[in-house]
Symmetry: D2
Subunit: 311 residues, 4 copies
């Protein structure tokens, strides 16, 4: 093999008892397929932090029910996330835990008769008692009652975040660390349903476009930018589209962890190569897509990253 070719020999990974996650990720860095992509994602995240890039974190999927809440709130507290864009559902499930609830793990084949009897709602192999939603309702109606009547969505989420007294909460960590939380489809969640209930008798005004200016300003003021996408959906597109009307030419760093694929054409599965054609990601960006369940890939990447950055 000639030296000038853009190819490196595969070095077969060696596993040793007691090795650290970062040692394992380093072993995988000279492997291919998913293993190589995963190791590449850890390197890119490290670059992102070390280059003082502004780090946008797009969070979709049911990561909080799955047990990823602490990882994300710690990432906020430790400066690995500068701007969070997420779904209403992740915030709802974060709130439920802050209000004393738990998510429960079972198996995905538990039958519907059992679930109806015990009033359990299912998210694959996670189960949630229906009663929690009553506690949530009381809490949210109380928060709404104290709100200013004309807010944008980011401010609306911030007010909810301030109501939380729980160090491990994603919302509370964001409040504490001045990490803005954007949630474009906030009405598409229990937060939205309770806003609808509340508005049947009382005023509540939240503008749909008003926080875009903040979002754009944050994005444009940054010297270097990076995006980490957990799944696709609205968070992915909302982060990427910020580049469309700018002259920045796209994100400098891009990591996507997804189980979607590009062939059916939806944005959730779109490659970073597509994003480059739209100037959402720079032609020269360091970019990687890890095709993996994010509950596997994210903890690995973060464990590796923490070890790299502690030195």
């Amino acid at each position: 093999m000639k030296k000038e070719l853009p190819l490196k020999p595969i070095k077969h990974a060696k596993i040793i008892a007691g090795m650290s996650v970062d040692e394992l990720i380093h072993e995988l860095d000279s492997c291919a397929f998913g293993a190589g992509k995963l190791a590449c994602a850890a390197r890119i995240y490290e670059n992102m932090v070390n280059s003082d890039s502004l780090k946008f974190f797009g969070l979709s999927g049911a990561m909080v029910p799955a047990g990823m809440r602490q990882i994300i709130s710690d990432m906020i507290r430790d400066g690995y996330i500068d701007v969070l864009v997420t779904t209403g559902a992740n915030l709802v499930h974060d709130l439920i835990e802050s209000l004393g609830g738990n998510h429960y793990k079972g198996t995905e084949d538990i039958g519907s008769a059992f679930l109806k009897k015990h009033r359990l709602n299912r998210i694959f192999d996670v189960f949630l008692p229906e009663e929690y939603f009553e506690t949530l309702e009381q809490h949210l109606l109380g928060v709404y009652a104290k709100m200013d009547k004309g807010l944008n969505i980011r401010e609306f989420i911030y007010e909810i975040g301030k109501s939380v007294d729980d160090h491990n909460s994603i919302l509370k960590s964001a409040v504490d660390c001045n990490v803005p939380v954007f949630c474009p489809a906030v009405q598409d969640s229990m937060i939205g349903l309770h806003a609808w209930l509340y508005k049947q008798t009382k005023p509540l005004k939240v503008d749909v476009f008003d926080d875009m200016r903040e979002f754009m300003d944050i994005c444009y003021s940054a010297k270097k930018t990076g995006a980490i996408m957990i799944g696709g959906g609205v968070p992915k597109n909302f982060i990427l589209q910020s580049m469309l009307l700018s002259s920045k030419g796209g994100f400098d760093y891009f990591i996507q962890i997804t189980t979607d694929r590009p062939e059916p054409g939806g944005l959730s599965g779109a490659t970073f190569e597509e994003a480059k054609s739209w100037d959402k990601v720079k032609e020269s960006a360091k970019a990687v897509t890890v095709y993996s369940d994010a509950t596997i890939a994210l903890p690995l990447i973060i464990a590796s990253l923490r070890e790299r950055l502690k030195g």
Copy 2:
């Protein structure tokens, strides 16, 4: 095989030159795996129409760029869709065609140098000239200038729809047929980006929660309800969550066409069995998930449905 078992013999499909799509779908109805699910979806859609159910259509993915625009606008005009919930992107691409633009088909491996040179944006194997976005901008800024300043999202979309003069448009068909169009994450699209631009100098107020009441009222007033989901995302959840605070017990009919899978836990890939545990879909509902690229499955189902209903 005893007669009382809930099993029917597989009848092997027979293909004949010139057979109609509906004849083919009937052949597949006694087949299994994806073929059987597809035929089941056609039957459920037929049931939905014949039982006078209110039909909610959740549209995500890039169906307009792929060439599915006419199918959907015809579905609206012919009464197969009563309520549309979709993404900003599908509306933007619908508008682009109404304003004289085309989407172009190529191959997914066209290189970035070529795309940059010809200023083309890529969506898998679809290509879109960047210049169209300038036409879109002019159009939208004009529409925004004439709008009332306090609208909900459905009204906001309706105003955009009224500006369209194109019988084949999804937006125009919805206006003509009084089919309400909901778009919970409207800011997550070019429609949103241009609203942000517009608001830098002029007022525009669109409330994020205000159209939920209409949506809920439509849903609760219906005797029977059906949901057809193209992909997942916000449209799927927004339709399903309407049942969460009601006593209806869920949708009576449910069809989902998706390439997502349930194991990573996200709502887009969640099964209807999960939806039943939340009372989003009735325990007794006729429900099916077709794991397929929707650009393949939707035309087939609709061709079969049209033939069934014309008699």
Copy 3:
């Protein structure tokens, strides 16, 4: 859009009640994503037939249990398949039907207690009574007893095929039409298990490499060659590897229908671009991958093909 670019406008598909499958496929031919790939596959198959190419058909997956048996046996009888490479399982399920058995369709959530009670084996939503395997055993042991003792695998399969008296059988159709059937992992099936039982008391010699010469000779003697792959597995690789030591430069036509993806690196999900780097598929080949459940895509392609070729 300049005319010289390799791009064509998307023409949105129009669905009409009573349209034929081929009319639908023609509508999809100017659409993108899966719809466009599917229509492309129909065109390539038509080219393959019209150019008198030798057509290799790689059949994996559980296509016979799903109800695709008649389609495949008709394809053999009508000259759409010249060489069949398949798995032992598809042949076993073909035999079971020829011996009077049925596959049964139910739902994938039927519980294990029910299945054990009724002695049913499950293949997703297909169910097979265990008792059929006793009939199969009797039949196969009888066939083995009459066999020559030194055969290659193709001859061994042919002998089994000759024992079948069923016009709709894949095996019988292949015997009748002189279509050779290769089954490289024949021992990986009930055919193999019963061979093992038989050999505990009686001699049976089948050589693993002996039919490769026939396979290679067929392949090399053809002027033009085409490959149609249903799924991946051994059939896909066995067909493709025939080009590795030849100077033909690969197949002229290549159609793959699969639900696998390329990123995990396995051959089943490998793209035709990869195959080109190995000279398994010609650089200039007409080639397409349709990402779809084959029980949906195959009937569509064949219905379209039959209409195109009947004229």
Copy 4:
């Protein structure tokens, strides 16, 4: 939540700099979705070893090219694999490295002109110089020339294994540790192609069914049995079918790592629940399916396992 329910609270994973892989896997053990399944797989593998079960390892996919060769050969040497069933391709790529070749890592978008120019074959993002196949041919023809003329496939593979002088080789490790290697579709590989070449001038007889007796005897003599499946394909089915004609009732332990899904009905994506209906896996078995790229999941599980077992 009542204590008697089969549910446990989700404990959110905590990531600490420098944590070992096993510590991470323990954190994931109280998480859900893929993370929980992965941790469950590590536990089941630990149980398998500690219960002195006979461990069958089904290896498909392109694990050697990806950099997983050392992991697998070390697993053989350390007693984590008792019987190996694999594809010809994995053995070929193992041989290539033993003969001095390397696999090279690049990116999946390297163009075909470059590959043709440098005579490189591609496996997703792995590249292999064509010239290695000439070295392989010389080696194999030499091995075939010294072989006994009437072998079964396991013996045939063993003879090839004996020709290897490389401690890191899978084949050599299996020879050294008396781990039998079965390869049902051996002709579907370069090993097979060179056997075909060889047989054009010289005799070589390898029987397709002869090693099934050994395989069955090993399986039936074991007190407890476990199966670890990397991907699906022939190795998965060949291992599972060993239970079909036995009275053992199936494997006691079952781990599958796959990217396939059950809905298209193929065996590669079939769940262990399906396998239970066939008595291939015991009703009471400890069983798990991890939906993941195996190059990610396998190193994690093995790193965790090694730490658990070293104590």
